[in-house]
């Protein structure tokens, strides 16, 4: 099966009623938000899955930054333009307006300075796409309420003492930060536990309660 078919089949699965929890559903949602042929920087690109999807199905000029050496070497050996680097320290090297999209998928909560990272993303790129796990999801709220312990879920299985995720936020928190920084929210998508998109016309509080993860496309306010 070629990449294009696979993407669309997977996208169909995401959009359809059955949904899927296989793989990184948020990546496909992110991929949908990118215009074909654009310049993309994927911050925290992992094994390069998103870059590969974007290169092969959207013909983007893609670059990546990844913190783990294994991830980087794997990506480079696949022919992807990826460097070893850290979102917190290395975004500063990039010039203004170098990219159309700067993507941060499931990495924001692992940065030391999420706010500064976000500001850099919208300095380097005209648009930013951010996906993150929603700490306001009802299961997480319930775990803390009922058991009084730091929540652990299928998507966030680490214990509090060994997790990379040091800056969790809720969908509402993230929206507030965008407002505070004068960032325009172009689109936002919340995905439920099965990776299905929540209805657009639901109010924010529903998203914040039932969205397990969220994907935002942002731009600078003019």
């Amino acid at each position: 099966m070629n990449m294009q078919t696979r993407l669309y089949r997977e996208l169909a699965a995401v959009n359809g009623s059955r949904g899927t929890t296989n793989g990184r559903v948020d990546l496909l949602v992110v991929a949908q938000m990118v215009e074909p042929g654009s310049r993309v920087l994927d911050v925290g690109c992992g094994d390069g899955e998103l870059l590969k999807i974007l290169t092969e199905t959207k013909n983007v000029d893609g670059r990546g930054i990844e913190i783990s050496r294994e991830g980087v070497n794997f990506c480079v050996a696949k022919g992807l333009a990826v460097i070893q680097g850290d979102a917190d320290t290395d975004l500063v090297d990039y010039p203004d307006d170098a990219f159309d999209y700067v993507i941060l998928s499931q990495t924001l909560q692992a940065t030391w300075q999420p706010r500064i990272v976000l500001e850099h993303m919208l300095r380097i790129g005209e648009r930013a796409i951010v996906s993150f796990p929603n700490f306001g999801h009802w299961k997480i709220r319930l775990m803390l309420l009922l058991f009084g312990r730091m929540p652990r879920t299928a998507n966030l299985p680490e214990t509090w003492y060994n997790t990379q995720n040091i800056h969790f936020c809720t969908i509402r928190d993230f929206r507030d930060l965008c407002h505070e920084l004068g960032i325009k929210i172009e689109t936002a998508v919340a995905l439920d536990a099965w990776g299905r998109k929540l209805r657009l016309n639901f109010p924010w509080w529903v998203w914040n309660l039932f969205g397990e993860q969220a994907v935002f496309r942002l731009s600078r306010r003019r």
Binding site: N73, V76, A77, G79, A81, V82, I83, Y94, A98
Partner: protein, 396 residues
């Protein structure tokens, strides 16, 4: 090895320099001088080179390999002097990461080398004797200018790739800076954009070892029938340590004794590591010219790409469309990862398309020449991606 084979004899060195064995030679006459950074023009001069594979119809599959300090054009074929396999035959050849069934590989001896490109052991046409120290001082940029003339001579406009490690990596960076439109992709491995004070210091020790040998005779040893073997061997021994790492030396030799059970309480090579270094030194002098060693180390010392561009490294790569693959090795203390990272930062600042990998190894600087499967995978993958973008298609 028969004495006649060695280039270290006063008779053989100029012969190998003027009429190299198993190599192609292009001679540039008085109408095509090499304009050097020192302001001098070198003319006439010649470049010895090897090619592997076939140039395709639209001349788009040429890969230039730049050799390191003591390398030469014999990258993937038997060396005419040592009879050993090519210095990078793990990387270059049929089916290898730099695949000669797919790419047309060119490797030339650098100017001021001693394997057939003009250098201090070449015959000075003015005197009919070897140049010695009358040969002009060469820079990395001069080497690259000469390579560009060779590439012109071969009728190639754009190189698909330029690749090399160490001093070869410096040439790769210089290529990308001097001729950005002629380099589709660049692989600078285990190198830096400038030689550090520590590296200059090591080179100076090597040069002083050569010059301290009375056989050096002020650089005129070839005309006077002598050879500074001891000095050059000591230089090589010192340099060789910098190409390895503490961990690799410990792994290979530790404190093991050489063919004996107890120390001899003398200055014999009691330890295996001593014996190994002595061997490295003595085998090196059989294939290398002492004056070339001085010139090449000098060229590396002078290299400072940022200084050429107003002190801002990023300016060297401004607007570049070249794809870069920068690789460093964790145990390389001669060209540590931090120096590769500087290249990457400069390239990022110009929004260049750059890949950068650091490979975990205890083999030190020499790792780029050795069997490092991860390096092979990275080079192969990077070139495959670039070939696709270049429209070179899949392997026939």
């Amino acid at each position: 090895m028969a004495e006649a084979n060695l280039i270290s004899t006063p008779k053989e060195a100029p012969r190998e320099a003027d009429e190299p064995r198993d190599s192609l030679v292009v001679r540039f006459g008085a109408d095509q001088p090499l304009k050097l950074d020192s302001g001098v023009e070198l003319s006439p001069f010649q470049i010895a080179y090897k090619t592997y594979g076939r140039l395709n119809a639209d001349r788009s599959n040429a890969v230039l390999i730049c050799h390191a300090l003591t390398g030469d054009q014999h990258v993937a074929s038997v060396h005419p002097v040592t009879k050993k396999n090519g210095w990078w035959d793990t990387m270059v050849g049929p089916g290898k990461p730099i695949d000669t069934e797919r790419y047309f590989v060119i490797c030339s001896n650098v100017v001021s080398g001693c394997m057939g490109s003009s250098g201090p052991s070449s015959t000075d046409p003015k005197t009919g004797k070897p140049y010695g120290l009358d040969f002009p001082v060469i820079t990395i940029r001069d080497m690259v200018r000469a390579q560009a003339m060779l590439v012109d001579h071969l009728g190639i406009d754009t190189l698909f790739a330029v690749a090399g490690g160490s001093m070869g990596g410096m040439q790769v960076l210089q290529w990308a800076a001097s001729y950005p439109e002629r380099v589709f992709c660049a692989l600078p491995l285990a190198c830096a954009t400038r030689h550090s004070a520590q590296n200059i210091a090591f080179h100076e020790v090597g040069r002083q070892a050569v010059m301290a040998d009375p056989e050096w005779r002020g650089g005129r040893y070839l005309t006077e029938g002598s050879n500074p073997r001891r000095g050059l061997a000591v230089a090589r021994m010192g340099a060789h340590i910098t190409y390895m790492s503490d961990a690799a030396l410990h792994r290979k030799f530790g404190r093991k004794l050489q063919d004996r059970n107890n120390p001899t309480f003398s200055f014999d090579a009691d330890f295996e590591v001593e014996s190994y270094l002595r061997y490295q030194g003595s085998s090196f002098v059989e294939r290398f010219d002492a004056n070339s060693y001085l010139y090449l180390t000098r060229a590396m010392d002078y290299f400072d790409l940022a200084a050429e561009h107003g002190g801002v490294l990023a300016n060297a790569f401004k607007g570049t469309q070249t794809r870069f693959c920068v690789v460093s090795f964790t145990s390389d203390w001669l060209f540590p990862t931090s120096e590769s990272r500087e290249i990457v930062h400069a390239l990022n600042a110009t929004s260049a398309r750059v890949s950068f990998a650091e490979i975990v190894t205890d083999k030190g600087h020499d790792a780029f020449l050795l069997d490092e499967p991860e390096l092979f995978a990275i080079v192969r993958g990077f070139l495959d991606g670039a070939a696709k973008a270049r429209g070179l298609g899949v392997k026939e």
